[in-house]
Amino acid sequence: MTALPEALSDLLRLMRRAWRRPAFRVALLLALALTALGLLGPYVAPYPLQGLGVEVVSEKSLLPPSLEHLLGTDAMGRDILSRVLFGLWRAVIVTLLVISVSAVLGLFVGSAAAVLPKPVETVFVYTMELFISVPSILLAAALVATAGGGLVPLIVALVLTWWPWYGRVAYTQARAIRELDFVNLPRVFGLSRLYVVRKHIVPHVVPPVLVEALSDLGSVVIEMSTITFIFGAAQSISEPDLGVMIGLGLRYVTTHPWVALFPAIFLALLAISFTVFGEVLYEEANPVLRKRWFKWF
């Protein structure tokens, strides 16, 4: 698709504009650093087996930070630094996965809705509105209750509740340009709908969706960890998850604060940096007064 390189260059231009703002610089660098740390984490963790939750060293439980264990140990004697690195890895992977899948899904459904015949369009739009009304955490709960715990129901629930936002953006953009001549003419000449979508609509729809997706990174991190924090016990107690770690660490927070503190610090930094990155990007792309809410009705 020729759309992608164009969209990317638009994006880079946007980022260069955003770069002027110091907040953006700090946030982007921090976000990149944490993402790198997350992706590399499992390979640099000092005690990888403890990080995964397989190994347990009961005699060394709840030790404060020391040279051997830079961030201390948790209730089962596992090295907190390793746990946090694995947890970070999980958070980054899940966030990237959810955002990319939702964005792609939303993009296609939204664009398709704009060019397909009216009944199909109504159904698609209706589905998007419907899923926007369902809160992610409850949907995740329903899925966990039927499919059991683990990462998959969480990801599915997040994707189901997030894609309609991109769908809406794609749809509004696509709708705005579908009436334009340069879109209609090819149709008149008999070119297939799919071609029209690919060549003409998608290039105009991808940039706003991309911007939306990037600005939502922070929200996904927050929502994902909120869900795992609340679900806590329903997930496995030994798997490395920042939300679960904080939840379980709260048990000892008055006496051994580091158990909950360090995962919390990393999670907060991840969330804040992603959020600020996203919001500045969004602000640069969409000056407030021209905000597109009006166009939604």
Partner: protein, 536 residues
């Protein structure tokens, strides 16, 4: 309004409200004495004749038993019964306390005692409840409104039974008519009780019953015992609050919302003590028994069970998971209980375990499932320790943690669908009354509620009943028989006792006092609120 003024006004308003609130909160005189007791499992039911689980925490406040027993001193305390004596080899005379009344004002009569005893037996016959405690009873004869005689089948230590923790409560026979039940064993009556109804003679009456959240009790002014107990500072209202997470119990305790906590994370005990809380470790007969699914591969193979038992890090379990508040298990019967055998302890031996597994050629990477109760941090800790050790033997352990009522359901599944039931479960057990039979009854064939091993051995059952028959008349004589049964279990290993646990009650001594008399090892997790003193 000017923009500058608005935040200032808001701030002043907020400050005013907060100050006012704090002032008012301080000036509030405590008019009623409230005690909040945090317990970690949802109440399973409050039918005094049918309840066999945690409902007993509530039952001992609503109902009286004829006697109470203190294992620490060995004495029987006359409770609802003023006199309880053996008048012949097989005959006991019971005199009901004068002035004892039920919560509706009607007097406690011998007919009511007869009704209660007979119902316990009848329900047990239908497989409900723990009425087996009355098994030696042949007939109950009412002499007059306050006296009755119990005829037993041969010599029988009836006092032991009358002071049991379960199924020995006295309640009014009016419950039949109040519930609209056709007979004492009519399920309608059980339902009536479990909807939140009661008619007992105990120190507290039931004000509201939400078994998942909290049960609220209020003082019954006309209880016969207030004069005996002589505690003017007893609580007027008792709230038994269900708090499953130990961390939450601790926070509630520190916040002053919970006055007596029964399960706080053990790691914070020292800090609580330093914070001025009283940490009371109480000896109990509460133990944690690991049960193997003997109907499912690979735990149906004795060598495999033995290997797993040898893999358990016996030396570190108590220090790590209980922080020292307990004792390693030896045989199914806990320390201090008649029938305890110290020779049945195991030690960790990974080499022997590996050898056994190799002998039966168990493939490496086999996955085993264990089910534990969520929020029981000692079980969570144990499961993770076991997983670690089993990994060294090439076995994978999947840990499933569920709330207690669901754990029971999965346990019972071994009888209907053993392949779906987990390989191992942790069943925590406490006594009905002082008899070794209690702990061994876990392995009785067909005992669906509690036999989660699926163990069915006719020979074992026969010998167990034999021992119990002797026990009824004379416990001493039955001990050797029980010892044999324990050895048998030790060889076969359908179940193994992990540890005997102490209970840790934490409370704020400036607000509430829990004297020794309020706790009793025979009545597990029961706090006798009539002895609790509320200070502020």
């Amino acid at each position: 309004m000017s923009r500058r003024l608005l935040p200032a006004v808001v701030l002043i308003l907020v400050l005013a409200v907060v100050t006012g609130a704090l002032l008012i909160l301080y000036r509030q005189p405590q008019q009623i004495r409230v005690v909040v007791y945090a317990y970690r499992d949802a109440i399973t039911g409050i039918d005094p004749g049918a309840e066999d689980d945690v409902g007993v925490v509530v039952l001992h406040a609503l109902y009286d038993t004829l006697l109470r027993y203190d294992p620490r001193t060995g004495e029987y305390i006359p409770w609802l019964a003023e006199r309880f004596e053996r008048v012949a080899e097989d005959r006991w005379l019971i005199a009901i306390r004068k002035g004892a009344v039920f919560h509706d004002g009607s007097p406690v009569t011998a007919e009511d005692v007869k009704f209660s005893i007979e119902r316990s037996l009848a329900l047990y016959e239908e497989g409900i409840g723990l009425g087996f405690v009355w098994s030696c009873v042949e007939e109950v004869e009412v002499l007059n409104t306050t006296h009755l005689e119990v005829v037993t089948d041969g010599p029988c230590e009836l006092a032991r039974t009358a002071s049991a923790a379960y199924s020995a409560f006295v309640y009014s026979r009016k419950v039949l008519q109040l519930s609209g039940a056709a007979s004492p064993t009519d399920r309608k009556l059980i339902e009536w009780f479990n909807l939140g109804n009661e008619l007992g003679s105990g120190p507290y009456r039931l004000r509201s019953y939400k078994p998942e959240r909290e049960v609220v009790l209020e003082k019954f002014q006309d209880w016969w015992g207030w004069k005996v107990v002589n505690n003017p500072r007893a609580p007027d209202v008792v709230v038994i609050r269900i708090v499953e997470d130990p961390g939450e119990q601790e926070r509630g305790l520190r916040a002053g919302e919970i006055h007596i906590a029964s399960s706080v994370p053990r790691a914070v005990l020292r800090s609580l003590r330093e914070g001025g809380f009283e940490v009371r470790a109480a000896d109990t007969y509460h133990n944690f028994i690991l049960m193997f699914n003997v109907l499912r591969w690979p735990t149906n193979v004795t060598e495999v069970r033995r290997a797993i038992a040898l893999a358990i890090p016996w030396d570190s379990v108590v220090p790590t998971c209980l922080h020292g508040y307990g004792r390693v298990g030896s045989g199914l019967i806990p320390y201090g209980f008649p029938g305890y055998d110290p020779e049945l302890r195991l030690g960790q031996d990974l080499d022997e375990a590996a050898r056994l597994l190799a002998e039966v050629q168990l493939p490496s990477g086999t996955e085993l499932e264990i089910v534990i109760t969520s929020g029981y941090e000692e079980e969570e800790c144990f499961a993770q320790l076991l997983a670690h050790e089993l990994a060294k033997l090439g076995l994978r352990l999947r840990i499933t943690s569920l709330p207690w009522d669901l754990v029971k359901q999965r346990g019972a599944e071994v009888w209907s669908n053993p392949e779906a039931a987990p390989h191992m479960m942790v069943n925590d057990w406490w006594p009905t009354y002082i008899t070794p039979y209690d702990y061994l009854s876990l392995l009785e064939c067909g005992y669906i509620t509690w036999n989660w091993a699926g163990y069915c051995n006719e020979d074992f059952d026969e010998r167990l009943w034999e021992a119990y028959e002797v026990d009824l008349a004379d416990l001493e004589q039955a001990l050797p028989l029980y010892q044999e049964l324990q050895r048998y279990v030790y060889e076969e290993l359908p179940a193994i006792n992990l540890w005997d646990m102490q209970h840790i009650y934490v409370y704020n001594p400036r607000r509430v006092l829990v004297p020794d008399r309020a706790l009793n090892p025979l009545y597990t997790y029961v706090v006798f609120f009539e002895y609790v003193e509320v200070l502020s």
